[in-house]
């Protein structure tokens, strides 16, 4: 059986066989299904591949995507989603933890690296207030999760609209970015110096980052297809 990642790769290549108009319609359906977080990923990718194979063959026989999907794309896609198996809890948990581990890992890695480089020229601040640091990390995670939901929401509600106000999407995303950034900075400001203060060398943070990314790689193998 082909894994979801292989199917996605194959899908990307095969989509180029569609003509511009069919590709646009097919991609809309694809986005709508992929951004539905309840749907089992493996089942979704298998279905998307079946649809694509079929659509390519139909196109060769002179049919277009409009004939294929019927009058209402959204109703059609909703009907597909309603009949698809839902993602199991274990995979949701894996996705959730790998997102956080990955984020924290890259953050620690770059933080350690930058401080390491700065420390060549001047002494760096090694003191961390544990309470404040964990609060800031927590708010980063929160913003990340809310961000994913907001972005997916925006995609899903706009994908089948004939005319999307692109500037509206940009303004919305920009606004969210600003509010998120202000939120994290605010948490750092109001909860400055909370909790016990400890000293951590830059290379320790760098190592922690590497370990987190390693763990992340291990955890990501735990999802079942």
């Amino acid at each position: 059986m082909r894994k979801a990642t292989e199917l996605i790769e194959e899908n990307n290549q095969k989509r180029e066989l569609l003509n511009a108009e069919n590709e646009k319609i097919y991609t809309d359906v694809l986005l709508y299904i992929r951004t539905d977080l309840r749907v089992d990923e493996q089942a979704a990718e298998e279905l998307l591949m079946d649809l694509l194979d079929h659509l390519i063959e139909a196109q060769e026989n002179g049919k277009d995507a409009q004939d294929f999907f019927g009058d209402s794309l959204e109703a059609y896609a909703d009907e597909l989603i309603a009949n698809m198996p839902t993602e199991n809890k274990r995979n949701i948990l894996v996705l959730f933890s790998t997102s956080i581990l990955g984020l924290a890992g890259w953050f620690a890695l770059s933080y350690g690296l930058i401080n390491g480089m700065i420390s060549i020229f001047k002494p760096v601040d090694n003191e961390f207030a544990l309470g404040s640091v964990s609060l800031i990390l927590l708010s980063l995670v929160l913003i990340g999760i809310v961000g994913i939901f907001v972005i997916f929401r925006v995609i899903r509600t706009s994908v089948f609209k004939p005319k999307v106000n692109e500037w509206k999407v940009y303004v919305l995303s920009g606004l969210f970015g600003m509010v998120g950034f202000a939120f994290v900075v605010g948490v750092g400001f109001f909860f400055d110096g909370k909790g016990p203060v400890i000293q951590i060398q830059w290379w320790v943070i760098l190592l922690v980052g590497l370990v987190l990314l390693g763990v992340n790689k291990g955890v990501s193998r735990l999802s079942i297809n």
Partner: protein
């Protein structure tokens, strides 16, 4: 009329199972066969919600196999449960098909004569 009403959904499920029982097919073949039989208003995409529903209920199973034209395709087979279900639906359908068509044809006539008045 769209093939979305409950009644037609059930009928379409049975039709898909009947085609699959005859011979395992992949998506494109299946829609071609259904169109050839003469079912009205079946767009190619119509079969996919049906296929998903039948798989979810365990009535059919998909399997990757090389096709006659070359690339691997997902072929659908009828399971034992599917066979049972198909037999049951067929029996029910055959019982009601004749009387219902008769009845509906008559009321169509009535409507026409009412309209003439």
């Amino acid at each position: 009329m769209a093939l979305r009403s409950q009644l037609l959904k059930g009928v379409l499920d049975a039709c898909v199972m009947a085609v699959v029982e005859e011979q395992p097919v992949y998506g494109y073949e299946l829609s071609q066969k259904l169109q050839k039989i003469g079912l009205p208003n079946i767009s190619d995409g119509t079969i996919y919600p049906v296929l998903l529903r039948l798989q979810k209920n365990g009535f059919i199973k998909g399997e990757m196999k090389p096709s006659a034209t070359g690339p691997n395709r997902k072929y659908y087979f009828l399971t034992d449960e599917g066979k049972e279900e198909l037999e049951q639906i067929s029996a029910e359908w055959l019982q009601i098909a004749d009387p219902v068509s008769k009845l509906l044809k008559r009321s169509e006539k009535d409507e026409k004569s009412n309209g003439a008045n």
